[in-house]
């Protein structure tokens, strides 16, 4: 319920942004050629109810949103929703592996740092995560690309596939999956190679955020009596860590995963352009630098909805893991 209210609020916010545009929102939304065509202009005014009072305009806006109408991108002259749907699979293809890797690495490294509390290992992790937090994502992407593509020649220059390879038949839109489904191993391997750098950069950034939270959560867990009790029972260290420490640490880790997801989404917007990765992030970059307002708002709305739903899932997962919440 709160999620629904929140999403409703999010639409109010994006709608207000349209209202706040200096001058006429029409000039921000329509290309110049379209503005010179009276038929297009009046159709636009009619569609968005620009002659109606603001509240009615919002109702119309919301009605359009619910039908999946996020407006027309000025740059591509196509519906924003359609554009997003084209780009989402590409983004998912790097976001999903990066998310999984980040949570695994973040938990592992965070736990390691907590176990080495105050010693060299902990310090190294701390410095590493501070560096990761302080690095501009797009710059890290650029430097990685420079080193691995330009200097070492180990990685492709960007994009999702080498130019000489024909894409596999589209089923999911994720090339690695599609290539596997089609049984095209060469294509699959090429797609994987293209994935590596963007995934690595996104993972680095997200892990830096995660590690700090996981470390302090694990430090707290390690200081609990039940961990001491588990050791007092004579269980092997590995069992104590796996069954007692990690299980208790999982709740905060899951909570933080929502945060990791936000950092991942922001990272994609800032990183995809560098790797010429045709995903939502590159779309957002082009929309922002081209001042394509409908597309920018479409992307933000989309991201906010996804982010809110992820947080809702996190809350639900919380209940699944913790019996105190599940059974009360």
């Amino acid at each position: 319920m709160t999620t629904v209210i929140l999403l409703f609020g999010v639409t109010v916010l994006t709608f207000s942004l349209i209202q706040l545009v200096p001058g006429d929102s029409m000039t921000a939304s329509l290309s110049e050629t379209a503005l010179n065509d009276p038929a297009v202009v009046s159709a636009y005014r009619d569609k968005w109810g620009l002659d109606e009072p603001v509240t009615t305009q919002y109702a119309i806006y919301l009605g359009n949103l619910l039908q999946g109408d996020l407006g027309i991108s000025r740059q591509t002259s196509r519906p924003v929703l359609g554009d997003l749907m084209t780009y989402v699979p590409a983004t998912l293809e790097i976001a999903i592996p990066a998310m999984i890797l980040s949570v695994l690495l973040g938990t592992g490294i965070g736990l390691y740092a907590a176990l080495r509390h105050g010693r060299v290992g902990d310090q190294v992790v701390r410095v590493g995560s501070l560096l990761g937090l302080s690095t501009p994502p797009f710059w890290l992407a650029l430097v990685t690309l420079y080193v691995f593509f330009y200097v070492l020649g180990l990685a492709p220059s960007g994009g999702r596939l080498s130019s000489w390879i024909t894409p596999p038949p589209t089923r999911t839109g994720m090339l690695t999956v599609d290539a596997l489904l089609a049984g095209q191993w060469m294509t699959w391997w090429d797609a994987v190679q293209h994935l590596l750098l963007p995934v690595a950069v996104l993972t680095c950034l997200t892990v830096a955020t995660l590690v700090r939270f996981v470390r302090s959560a694990m430090l707290e867990v390690l200081d609990q009596d039940y961990v001491r009790a588990a050791r007092a029972k004579g269980l092997p260290t590995a069992t104590v860590l796996r069954r007692h420490v990690l299980r208790a640490g999982l709740v905060p880790v899951i909570t933080v995963s929502g945060l990791a997801f936000a950092s991942l989404l922001s990272g994609t917007v800032l990183v995809e352009q560098i790797f010429s990765w045709p995903g939502v992030g590159q779309y957002a970059f082009r929309a922002a630098s081209g001042l394509d307002l409908p597309a920018v708002l479409g992307v933000s709305l989309f991201v906010a909805v996804v982010y809110t739903l992820v947080n809702l899932m996190v809350d639900l997962l919380y209940g699944v893991i913790d019996p105190r919440i599940r059974l009360s």
Binding site: A232, T239, P323
Partner: protein, 346 residues
């Protein structure tokens, strides 16, 4: 006869900030015999919990431990490696913590927490471990059988939780049970039940218990012998009754005087209503607080740590450690002055 646990000159220090070393136990010597419940009493910060943790190797990794602690005449506990501890923890020495709510894992079922170390140490399969767990629940008087095994700690009451913790400690038939203030977090009525359980276990299965408490009443009710700790040192030790009735160390005496207690002889008024001024009359002795505040082992003076607060202290007390005198067989006192404590000083 060798004692089951023989601790001699145990000293523990923890690393502090900036490379300092903070002593938490200076020189503790104590014995526990088979089938005996032995008490350790003292204020918080006196090192009694640290002693418990040192005996199970649960101190922070960089803690320095010296002296010796021998279990059953053959197993040295000081200086064991992590792996070697596993043959002692749970199987030979088990521990019950102060607060069962904190000491039981909130996300694991009672059954899991009762059986996991049985399966580890005794090599039981799931079925056999569960049967044994049911047995244990019976022994610690937890009703509900299999249903109780499937429940989570938060579904149980505080007293039940402590019983689960005790059952878990007993699971692998340890020779020695260390109980670190196991009744402090409980209501008085529940507390009585747990104390009774300890005594039953001792009588029925000859369990040896090292019982740590700050509550002299609990000490009196359960233990045969006791050690009084102050600032990481043993101040006085001996049979519990003697310690509490005829203390020879000024600190023990001060602890006793600082405890509110009613006159044994007072009777209920006939109408059953207590008049306000009666309450004050009822105390035979006034409450006597100990001047100054409890000192930590690290900040203690070179001599007797209690000297700065002691009404009988002499000049020599602060400079040099007091000799340990055996005032009666089995009753030892670390005091240079050994004043006559039958009179309370003004």
């Amino acid at each position: 006869m060798t004692a089951l646990l023989d601790v001699r000159h145990l000293a523990v220090s923890l690393p502090g900030a900036g490379g300092q070393v903070l002593p938490v136990i200076h020189d503790a010597t104590l014995q526990v015999s088979r089938g005996e419940i032995v008490g350790i009493a003292g204020e918080s910060g006196s090192g009694k919990s640290m002693t418990a943790q040192a005996l199970l190797g649960l101190l922070p990794e960089r803690a320095q431990v010296s002296g010796s602690a021998v279990l059953d005449g053959n197993t040295e506990l000081v200086g064991r490696s992590g792996r070697a501890w596993r043959t002692v923890r749970g199987t030979r020495i088990a521990m019950v913590f102060q607060d069962a709510t904190a000491a039981l894992h909130p996300m694991l079922t009672v059954g899991r927490q009762l059986t996991e170390h049985m399966r580890e140490h005794l090599g039981l399969d799931r079925r056999a471990a569960e049967a044994r767990a049911l047995d244990l629940l019976d022994r610690v008087r937890i009703p509900g059988g299999r249903g109780a095994l499937r429940s989570y700690p938060h579904q149980l009451s505080g007293g039940m939780r402590q019983r689960v913790a005790i059952a878990s400690a007993l699971a692998c038939e340890p020779e020695l049970l260390i109980a670190d203030e196991p009744t402090t977090a409980l209501d008085v009525t529940v507390q009585a039940g747990i104390l009774e359980l300890f005594d039953e276990l001792r009588r029925e299965s000859g369990l040896s218990v090292l019982f740590i408490t700050h509550d002299l009443g609990v000490l009196a009710a359960l233990t045969v012998r006791a050690y009084v700790f102050y600032a990481g040192r043993v101040m006085e030790s001996g049979p519990t009754g003697e310690l509490l009735l005829r203390p020879r160390h000024p600190y023990t005496a001060a602890l006793l005087h600082a405890r509110p207690h009613a006159d044994d002889s007072w009777t209920l008024p006939e109408d059953g209503v207590t008049r306000p001024d009666e309450a004050a009359e009822r105390r035979t002795q006034p409450l006597v607080t100990i001047p100054g505040s409890a000192v930590s082992p690290a900040a203690a003076p070179p001599g007797c740590p209690f000297a700065p607060r002691c009404a009988y202290a002499e000049a020599a007390c602060t400079g040099e450690l007091p000799p340990v005198t055996e005032v009666r067989p089995g009753h030892a006192v670390a005091c240079r002055v050994l004043p006559d404590l039958t009179e309370v000083p003004a």
